[in-house]
């Protein structure tokens, strides 16, 4: 495979950044993945449970095709891929250049702990005298100033929080590896010039800073300061603003001219803060407001010092930049009034804190107890829309994620409490707007979660217990007080910290809600070509949507690289010619890292050698101190070169961190990395450390670990599995906006695409929709897109054509097309994108069809567009939402109908301000920024009346001549409300148009509503379970135009991953068949979850498709004859390990 034909910078290593990085890495690009935090995984590193499974499943994002390029490990542990370089604690400091060739400056914060030396033993933390709130546990519990950012991640090097650290040096002496450097000696070299016309200020600053070890001089005026600057080099100048003669700003200007590298911090009285802020534009780093004390001054100076001195700056050249910085959460303390008492009432917690409470790695190890007093929780309330849908706190948007995570948390609470927990969700609208969300919510209700409509005014502590008490007005008007053990605030999203700065650096505007803005009708493209936004960085997405947007962003990045001629092509890696050792008896080199003497006390060496020598396969056992260092690794490489073994077993620490190094070692020594293994000896040593002295020194424990790994390794062979060839062209079925977008994205990256459309023209639903809620013109979009499709040399459009049949698998499909003229042709293609769209669902409810004034949303829009309807002549329009939606059998939300109703209502009002519009709804689904238009609609006087499933509106339309009357119970008045409507508009939702037999022909399946069943709703949202088959647009699920376009780009990315390869390589851990033993019973075919096996009738053999097989080993377990073998971890190997384990 061609490799590294361009580099991309992905900013943010949360779920979207990981998805984007993996996408690009799998497509063969080099990726630099950075995150400002000290860990990857973003907020997901703190979340153990995601709906709908209420578990994790993140690992399903790992590469399926070239599995060996990435580590086959839990993704929460960390991301490992050959093509991805990860820089943590790193941020962008400057962006220059143009698409295809950006120069980005990065700055990595020092951690003061050498990750090469730190083994994560944890000896340092207990001796640290500082305790600060533990951010990983959302502030529940404390951590030390030297800490593990995320306990489960590797490499698990400790890091020092410079803001909390007192530099006492306790950790330096406690570290057995000498990994911590906390010298204050270099402070002497950091020279500070204090400029102030008041002697008292000069003297105090000088003494405070000299106490901290800095070298400080002072000057009494601007000219004196300039003189000092000319004479000697200073790193930092602290200058007063208001000084006689030359003021601080002028001094700043002249000083910067003299010494451009000088950092300047201005000191200002409150009155001149504005001047100080203005001065930052001409190069001041920061300012301090007088009066200030050492606690303010010293940390700031330390920060400047550390950033200056120890930060490693680096510039990367990349072709494109993906910004995937995620979002932050609303801080309930920020509110001017804090009505819910967060921070005052201890039993009021945030949703993130609750996630930590129920996490197995949280402060209470997953037990549902109150964080402050440890009391078991029996009664919990969730308050929705905290920091969302609230104009008072500047959030005229819906955060989109809180309803679903609250439902999930309520279910988790009930699960944890063993049926003994009463969970109540107080909400305004339950926005379960995704494909499976409504059913999930209903499941919660069936399990006893109580849903109470209404916004809670405030939370007060109960007089006796201090427990949080809510006072709320029920829909019937009664005032009720209810006390809970725990109140959880469902916090909304906010722009990520630093998002505005990053946007400014990248010259991107912000949208009206403060998030970085994307281009109209694109959720990923920005004003600046080559810089794209992935995930929730541009606002308000859940995991599934973030993953889709991340893939869509990768597509755009790949497009830029392709357009730039893949200009940053790195040298192609020569395929290594590995030694063929298949006919040799195993000769294993065992290399044990002694890790100081932490793994292996020196006295034990002989015993280990003797134990290992019992196995004749061991050629040699060597001991290396710190194999992870460059010298250690070289010693290993030398040992391999001296007497080439045909297996290498390394006893060290985390196998994860060696994945890439083993591959390098393989290239160096020409021994295939599959024939090398790393066994973790440090983990068991550490786990045993608390087991008492006797057990900790069980001298056989670690040699046994090695012997078990040895048993496995010596029976491991490397199979030359045939790689599947790829037919490098794509078929896209459906010519709506999704299909066209996917086709263009694939074709723009250089692969031929056949675009099949059943109708006579392209465009799908765009013509009738006309424009979006935001007012973007969809007809212009259609014209432009169709024209680009039409003139694209790589796209062949087959109009009036249907796919009649298909077979094949990823890399090689055969599809038969038939047009309306009866002409049949067969296409070969490597991937297929199903973009068959959907339409408005049919209905017969509410008298539809019996009266000319009763429309569906589409019918209403068309009648209006065609002039059959005059808005000026209408007095009253009633809209009924959720017609046949969100109840059996179509129990899902179509998510576009509420925004469409608001769009139509606002347009009516615009054309005829006198018209009365009444919208009857169940839960109004204006998610994300669409909420703003809901606010506008209410301001415009549009009336919204909620109705319940048990009390639906009644429509009376006696005959075409009679007026239509709609009766609904007004929940506030509690009385029926009758409206005579000139037009009744029914929102019937979306019906998918994906034929089951078409999906089945490609091996994909439909869900119960007729949309494509995705492989995984969060982690693989556009893939079907059959590799090589993707879906986008309405075929996948209800979505608006912008979201459909994003799914199309995401599907294209998933397709490009395969098309970029000439062959689909097999991974080392792949099932094989011993045909001589096979009875062709076919049980392995049934049991394979990936449909990787089939019976070839001609050969009379079971064949495994190595590109599909994921190496789970289910076939080996089921095979009665031992004919199915998981190469690398078969029965022979497990038996060998058992022998050693029990020896």
């Amino acid at each position: 495979m061609k490799r590294k034909i361009g580099n991309v910078l992905v900013v943010g290593a949360g779920i979207a950044g990981i998805r984007s990085a993996l996408d690009l890495a799998e497509t063969g690009y080099g990726v630099v993945l950075i995150d400002k935090a000290e860990h990857s995984g973003g907020v997901l590193s703190q979340l153990d449970h995601q709906f709908p499974t209420n578990h994790c499943g993140m690992c399903r994002m790992l590469p399926l095709v070239e599995r060996d390029a990435g580590g086959q490990f839990c993704l929460r542990k960390g991301l490992f891929h050959d093509n991805i370089e990860i820089l943590l604690g790193t941020r962008v400091t400057a962006v220059a250049g143009e698409p295809g060739r950006f120069a980005v400056s990065l700055r990595t914060r020092p951690t003061w702990v050498d990750p090469q030396r730190c083994t994560g033993c944890g000896a340092c933390a207990p001796v640290c005298p500082v305790e600060v709130p533990d951010a990983f546990n959302a502030g529940l519990g404390l951590r030390r100033a030297i800490y593990l950012p995320v306990p489960h991640q590797v490499p698990n090097a400790y890091t020092i929080d410079p803001a909390a650290c007192t530099r006492c040096g306790a950790c330096v002496s406690a570290c057995p590896c000498g990994a911590v450097t906390l010298s204050t000696a270099e402070r002497k070299d950091f020279r500070i010039l204090v400029v102030d016309d008041e002697a008292i200020v000069r003297q105090s600053l000088q003494s405070w800073l000299e106490d901290e070890g800095y070298a400080v001089d002072s000057a009494a005026s601007g000219p004196a300061a300039l003189e000092a600057l000319e004479k000697a080099e200073y790193q930092l100048m602290l200058s007063d603003i208001k000084m006689a003669g030359m003021d601080g700003v002028e001094l700043l200007r002249q000083a910067r001219a003299l010494r451009p590298d000088l950092a300047v911090v201005l000191m200002t009285a409150y009155a001149t803060v504005e001047t100080a802020v203005a001065a930052m534009k001409i190069g001041a780093l920061d300012y301090l407001v007088k009066p200030f004390d050492p606690d303010t001054l010293v940390p700031m100076v330390t920060r400047v010092h550390e950033e200056r001195l120890a930060a490693r700056d680096r510039q990367v050249e990349v072709g494109a930049i993906v910004l995937a910085g995620g979002t932050d959460y609303f801080d309930p303390r920020q509110q001017e009034v804090n009505p819910y008492g967060y921070g005052r009432i201890p039993a009021v917690v945030t949703s993130l804190e609750f996630e930590r409470i129920v996490s197995g790695s949280g402060p209470s190890a997953g037990r549902l107890v109150r964080p402050h007093d440890g009391r078991p929780v029996r009664k919990i309330a969730w308050l929705q829309c905290v920091g969302s849908r609230d104009i008072q706190c500047g959030a005229d948007f819906c955060s989109s994620i809180c309803c679903m995570y609250a439902v999930k948390e309520a279910m988790l609470a009930q699960e944890r409490g063993g049926g003994d927990v009463a969970a109540t969700i107080f909400y305004m609208d339950m926005r379960c707007f995704g494909k499976s969300f409504q059913r999930y919510r209903d499941r919660a209700e069936d399990q006893g979660v109580r849903f109470e409509r209404g916004r809670i005014h405030s939370v007060i502590p109960a007089a006796d217990s201090g427990d949080p008490t809510l006072r709320f007005v029920g829909l019937d008007g009664s005032v009720r007080d209810e006390t809970f053990d725990l109140v959880v605030l469902a916090l909304g999203q906010r722009p990520a910290r630093g998002a505005a700065e990053l946007a400014q650096m990248a010259e991107l505007p912000l949208n009206p809600w403060g998030f970085p803005a994307t281009s109209p009708l694109s959720a990923v493209r920005t004003e600046r070509p080559g810089i794209v936004i992935g995930g929730a960085f541009a606002g308000l997405r859940d995991i599934g949507e973030s993953v889709i947007l991340a893939s869509a962003a990768s597509t755009e990045a790949a497009r830029v690289l392709h357009g730039a001629g893949k200009s940053l092509a790195a040298a192609e890696n020569e395929a290594t010619a590995f030694r063929d050792v298949s006919r040799q008896p195993p000769r294993v080199l065992v290399a044990v890292c002694t890790c100081g003497s932490r793994i292996l006390p020196p006295g034990d060496r002989t015993r280990w050698v003797d134990r290992l020598k019992r196995d004749p396969a061991v050629q040699e056992t060597i001991f290396i101190d710190r194999i992870c260092t460059a010298e250690g690794w070289q010693a290993l490489a030398d040992a391999i070169s001296a007497h080439p073994p045909n297996r290498v077993l390394i006893g060290a620490c985390h196998p994860y961190v060696f994945t890439r190094r083993l591959r390098e070692l393989g290239r160096l020594t020409r021994l295939h990395p599959a024939l090398m293994d790393v066994v973790d000896l440090l983990g068991p040593r550490m786990a045993a450390a608390g087991e008492g002295a006797e057990a900790a020194h069980d001298p056989d424990s670690l040699p046994r670990h090695l012997a078990m790994a040895l048993a496995r390794l010596q029976k491991t062979c490397r199979l030359e599995l045939e790689a599947m060839p790829v037919r490098r062209q794509a078929l896209v079925v459906g010519g709506g906006i999704a299909g066209m977008t996917a086709a263009l994205a694939i074709a723009d990256c250089g692969y031929p695409v056949d675009l099949v459309e059943a109708g006579d023209r392209l465009g799908g639903n765009l013509p009738w929709i006309g424009r979006t809620l935001e007012g973007h013109d969809l007809l212009a979009l259609l014209q432009d897109t169709a024209a680009r499709v039409g003139r694209h040399p790589k796209i062949t459009v087959h109009a009036d054509t249907r796919v009649r049949g298909a077979f094949g698998q990823a890399g090689q499909f055969y599809s038969t097309l038939e047009n309306t003229g009866g002409v049949v042709q067969t296409l070969e293609h490597g991937v297929v994108v199903l973009a068959t769209g959907g339409g408005e669902a049919a209905t017969s409810a509410y008298g539809f069809g019996s009266h000319p004034a009763i429309f569906t949303q589409k019918g209403f829009q068309e009648a209006w567009a065609e002039g059959r309807l005059d808005p000026g002549a209408l007095n009253t329009v009633v809209m009924i939402q959720c017609v046949g939606s969100r109840e059996a059998p179509r129990n899902f939300c179509s998510r576009v109908c509420c925004p469409t109703a608001i769009k139509q209502a606002l347009a009516l009002k615009q054309q005829n301000p006198e018209v009365a519009v009444v919208v009857l709804y169940r839960d109004l689904m204006t998610c994300g920024f669409a909420e703003t238009w809901f606010t506008r609609a209410r301001r415009a006087g549009i009336v919204f009346v909620a109705y319940g499933l048990d009390d639906k509106p009644k429509v009376d339309a006696a005959g075409p001549e009679q007026p239509v009357t709609v009766t609904v119970t007004d929940p506030v008045l509690g009385r029926p409300l009758t409206v005579t409507a000139d037009a009744l508009v029914l929102a019937t939702g979306i019906a998918p148009g994906l034929p089951a037999d078409l999906a089945a022909a490609y091996g994909a399946t439909l869900d119960q509503d007729g949309f494509l069943a995705e492989a995984e709703s969060k982690w693989r949202p556009v893939d079907s379970l059959a590799e090589g088959v993707f879906a986008c647009g309405l075929a996948l699920g209800p979505r608006n135009v912008e979201e459909s376009i994003a799914t199309a780009a995401a599907a294209a990315q998933r397709a490009l991953r395969i098309l970029e390869r000439e062959r689909l390589p097999a991974a080392h851990l792949t099932a094989v068949v011993r045909h001589g033993l096979c009875a062709r019973c076919g049980r392995c075919i049934e049991v394979c979850p990936y449909e990787a096996r089939r019976l070839d009738e001609d050969l009379d053999r079971i064949l495994v498709n190595p590109a599909r097989c994921q190496g789970c080993g289910a076939c080996e377990a089921i095979c009665p004859n031992g004919a199915a073998v998981l190469n690398g971890l078969g029965m022979a190997q497990i038996f060998g390990m058992l022998d050693q384990a029990l020896a």
């Binding site: 983990g683 057990a695 979850p1089 080993g1113 089921i1118």
Partner: protein
């Protein structure tokens, strides 16, 4: 040797329980050394023969542990394990082993504390059962 120290073989899946075990180690959750981990890709690949072989070779207790239901990396491997282990438990007495010697659990990647707890609990349970019935009685 003061007390009987049982030997436990734990077949743990690569994705969840192995990660949980690893977390137990890195977060200083101690668990008894009697447990010998065998990392498999998925609990769905644990052949009943592995369990029987381990018991016959002298293991006193067997743990099979994987991802929570619905959470399997390989879609449904843990369900396969669940069916298989249930069946195997009914068969163990025919081999002369107490079915309590075999246990199936779900331990997720962040459940390091849970992993250590299950291990301690299992060791105590098996200790109470006494040494394995294998050995002199059985000829393979």
């Amino acid at each position: 040797m003061s007390a009987f120290e049982p030997t436990i073989i734990a077949f743990v899946c690569n994705w969840c329980t192995y990660t949980g075990a690893d977390l137990a180690g890195t977060s200083r959750q101690t668990y008894p050394l009697n447990v010998r981990l065998i990392r498999v890709m998925c609990t769905g690949m644990v052949d009943p023969q592995y369990v029987l072989k381990a018991l016959l070779e002298g293991a006193d207790g067997i743990l099979v542990s994987g991802c929570h239901p619905g959470d399997c990396h390989y879609i449904n491997g843990n369900y396969k394990a669940r069916r298989r282990i249930k069946l195997l438990k009914t068969l163990l007495p025919q081999f002369g082993f107490a079915p309590q010697r075999l246990r199936l659990t779900w331990i997720g990647a962040s459940d390091g504390i849970e992993f250590a707890r299950v291990m301690r609990e299992l060791v105590e349970q098996v200790r109470a059962l006494g040494p394995s019935e294998a050995g002199a009685k059985m000829v393979i």
